[in-house]
């Protein structure tokens, strides 16, 4: 009990790092993903090929390898990153590949008929995108994006391997002084669970609030 109380505050503090890692990675991922998705949907042949190759390869390589390449590989070319930055780059780039698929899917989910209808009403391509495609696509992508958020949150634990002091590493430090792995790692698991579960619940409420009646889509995806 003593240990529980003394470690909970330390663990909660490092949860801050975990959340920072997650938010920074998701943000980086979203920025890159928007370009990749636009390239895949609206680009010419070459842009499509480059975007697709990027997306496929990034999705096929384990996150641990990407992280090690950035953290241990780049210094041999003279570029050195802090562990935190390397983790954000790795998680963000990998997330961008998955997010690009979410955005691509939601852009394509808007039916062709609507776009044709908007064009025939005299809207320009740009107007069609911002007034017809985008507002619907962003709603379609809320559910899968939440999923992606929880995936990244859980995978920040892998930053443990390159020495970022996030939740799991902090837990390991406590374990190495207290010899109570069962309690400490269970506490870590519980913290992760509360965040992912809470996020899912919160977003499903938000989703209902912003949904357009008759346009809900949901699917099971790997979280």
């Amino acid at each position: 009990m003593q240990l529980f109380l003394s470690s909970i505050s330390i663990l909660l503090k490092s949860t801050g790092t975990t959340v920072e890692l997650t938010v920074a990675s998701i943000f980086l991922g979203t920025v890159v993903a928007i370009f990749v998705a636009l390239g895949q949907v609206y680009g010419n042949l070459w842009i499509k090929i480059v975007a697709t190759v990027y997306e496929r390869t990034t999705r096929s390589i384990p996150i641990l390898i990407i992280m090690f390449m950035i953290f241990f590989g780049f210094p041999s070319m003279g570029i050195r990153f802090e562990p935190f930055v390397a983790a954000v780059l790795a998680l963000g780039l990998r997330s961008s590949a998955y997010q690009s698929q979410i955005f691509r899917g939601s852009l394509l989910a808007v039916s062709k008929g609507q776009i044709l209808a908007a064009r025939s009403l005299g809207m320009t391509e740009i107007q069609v995108f911002f007034h017809v495609t985008f507002p619907q696509a962003i709603r379609f992508s809320i559910a899968p994006l939440t999923n992606e958020f929880t995936i990244v949150l859980k995978d920040t634990s892998i930053a443990y391997a390159i020495g970022v002091t996030e939740l799991l590493r902090e837990g390991t430090y406590i374990v190495s002084t207290s010899y109570e792995p069962l309690l400490i790692y269970s506490m870590c698991a519980a913290i992760y669970f509360v965040i992912t579960f809470g996020t899912n619940k919160f977003v499903s409420i938000a989703e209902k609030k912003f949904s357009i009646p008759g346009y809900e889509i949901r699917g099971v995806e790997r979280a």
């Binding site: 390869t57 096929s60 390589i61 384990p62 996150i63 641990l64 390898i65 990407i66 090690f68 390449m69 241990f72 590989g73 780049f74 210094p75 041999s76 070319m77 929880t150 859980k154 995978d155 920040t156 634990s157 892998i158 443990y160 391997a161 799991l168 390991t172 374990v175 109570e180 792995p181 069962l182 790692y185 269970s186 870590c188 698991a189 992760y192 669970f193 992912t196 579960f197 699917g219 099971v220 790997r222 979280a223």
Partner: protein, 219 residues
């Protein structure tokens, strides 16, 4: 480029030895996970209140926590209450439990997408519930689940790299071992990434072939 090829060929024997462990981990875990997933999915769809409660809790807890934490609990924490596993066994157990929860969700989704009427029709023809699940629902559900199941397999192959962190000499660990001997981190890890890429492309290709072969036209 020549440099990379030289390093890659030098590292290849080690990496292939690691690949063996990686594939072993992935194959055993996906199969055990499939068993767990099937059982859990059936419990969640057709089970009583208690079975539903337990299986839902299992799926939610596994899906809500990182795989690495699960691995650490099984490998580092269980010895505290007297249960010891070797790194390989601990990895297989945690990957199977993890994959089982995800597979359960996929299978459940597929089972529920088979129309309710078919179950009623099967029972009214005198089949037992178990027969109906086995002969009517599952043949359709398993075909529907195949694309997402392939996805899950790909995820699992990638996540086996985490076994490196508890000391299983799989592909990632071998790469790290070679790289820390010759200090060619970038080239060796690129080589490792290339092998993962090949494995995953092969799996995706093979299963899309299977998917086409077992398709029932019109369903």
């Amino acid at each position: 480029m020549n440099h990379f090829i030289f390093i890659f060929i030098q590292a290849l024997p080690f990496l292939l030895k690691g690949l063996e462990f990686t594939l072993e981990l992935a194959f055993i875990s996906i199969i055990v996970g499939f068993g767990i997933g099937m059982f859990t999915a059936i419990e969640r769809v057709y089970g009583g209140k208690l079975a539903y409660g337990f299986s839902t809790a299992y799926v939610e807890i596994i899906r809500g926590t990182p795989l690495l934490v699960q691995l650490f609990i099984i490998y580092f924490s269980l010895p505290q209450i007297g249960i010891h596993f070797s790194p390989l066994v601990a990895s297989v157990i945690s990957f199977s439990l993890n994959s089982g929860a995800y597979q359960a969700e996929y299978i459940r989704g597929a089972m529920q997408s088979v129309e309710k009427g078919q179950m009623k029709a099967a029972i009214s023809m005198g089949m037992t519930k178990w027969q109906a699940i086995r002969l009517v629902i599952m043949p359709q559900a398993l075909r529907k689940v195949l694309p997402s199941w392939t996805n899950e397999f790909v995820y699992l192959v990638k996540y086996t790299s985490l076994a490196y962190l508890v000391g299983v000499p799989e592909l990632m660990a071998q790469g790290e071992f070679v790289a820390s001997r010759n200090f060619e981190f970038m080239d060796v890890f690129l080589g490792v990434a290339l092998i993962y890429l090949m494995v995953i492309l092969t799996i995706t290709w093979a299963f899309s072939f299977v998917e086409k072969r077992i398709k029932i036209p019109g369903v």
